[in-house]
Symmetry: C2
DNA sequence: TTGCTCCTCACGTCACGTGAGGTGGC
DNA sequence: TTGCTCCTCACGTCACGTGAGGTGGC
C-alpha cells in the first residue's frame, strides 16, 4: 500500500468498534484495558463515546503482542511505560535496566510459546490422523 | 532412599509431585483437572495420596498440548474421550465426525497460535532493541 | 422515527493461586 | 520425633463475558 504517513496534525479518530475490529479485540477487553490502566483514558465525544487515535491503536497492538507471552496486564503496563519514557527521552539508567530485565523475560516467554506451538502442532497432527482413520473403505 | 512406589516396569506409579514435575503442571492444576473431569479419578494409597500411572501422565501431556490452542477444559475432555473411543475400538461414525470437526478447529487454533508467536517475536525484538539503546552518551 | 453504536453498572465464569489446618509414611 | 509430601476446604484473583437498562447521532 502507498503509505499515507499521517502528517503531524492530521488527527484521525476512531470509535471503539472500529478499533476493536482493526486490532482484533472485543469492546469489553478494550474498556477493561482502560479500567486497569494499560491504556490511558481516551478522548470522548460530547455524548460520551470513546475516541481513539492512531497512537492508541498502536498501543493496543503492542498489548496484544505481549499477552500471549503470559505477561500480566500489570507487567504490560510497566513495559509500555518504560518504552514511552525512552521515546520521550525521559528515561533514566534505571529505565534501561528494567527494560533489559523485561527483554530477558520476553525472550524466555517467547521460547516457551514456541515450545507450546510445537506441542500444539504435534497434537493437531495427532487428532487429524486419528480422525482420518474413519475407515474410508466403508461403502 | 530410592524406594519410591514405582520400581516395577509394568505398573509404575507416581505421586502427584513427581507427575507435576515431569509434566510441568502445578499440583493444584492437576487436582483441578481431576475435579472437572479432564482426567479420571486416580488410584489412592491407603493414606489417600493420589497415584498416577504412565497413562495418566500421557493424558496430562495431551491436555497440556491442547491448552495453549485456547481449547476449554470441556472441549479437551471431549476430544480425549473421542480419542479413547477410537483406541478402544468403540467408535461410531459420529465419533469420527466429531473428531474431524475438532481437527479442523485445531488447525485453525494452531494457525492463530503461530500468528501470536510471530507477534510475540516481533515484540520481543522491539523491547530488546530499545533496551540496547542505553548508550551512556548519545550526544 | 428507526437503526445502529455506544454507554455504565454489576454479576458470572473460567482456570486456577493461595493460604489454613491437618494427616501419611519412611 | 522430625521433615517432607500429601490431603481437603474455601476464599481470592485475573481477565474478561454477558446481560440489563439506557443514551447518542446520523
Amino acid at each position: 500500500m502507498a503509505d499515507d504517513p499521517a502528517t503531524a496534525d492530521d488527527q484521525a479518530v476512531y470509535q471503539i468498534g472500529d478499533v476493536a475490529e482493526r486490532v482484533g479485540l472485543s469492546l469489553r477487553t478494550i474498556r477493561h484495558y482502560e479500567d486497569v490502566g494499560v491504556i490511558a483514558q481516551t478522548g470522548r465525544t460530547r455524548g460520551g463515546y470513546r475516541l481513539y487515535t492512531e497512537r492508541d491503536v498502536d498501543r493496543l497492538r503492542k498489548v496484544k503482542g505481549m499477552k500471549p507471552m503470559g505477561f500480566t496486564l500489570g507487567e504490560i503496563s510497566d513495559v509500555l511505560e518504560l518504552l514511552d519514557q525512552v521515546e520521550s527521552s525521559t528515561a533514566s539508567p534505571r529505565t534501561f535496566e528494567r527494560l533489559q530485565m523485561f527483554a530477558a523475560l520476553a525472550v524466555e516467554r517467547r521460547d516457551k510459546l514456541r515450545e507450546r506451538l510445537a506441542l500444539a502442532t504435534e497434537f493437531t497432527d495427532l487428532i487429524a490422523s486419528v480422525a482420518r482413520r474413519s475407515s474410508p473403505d466403508e461403502r
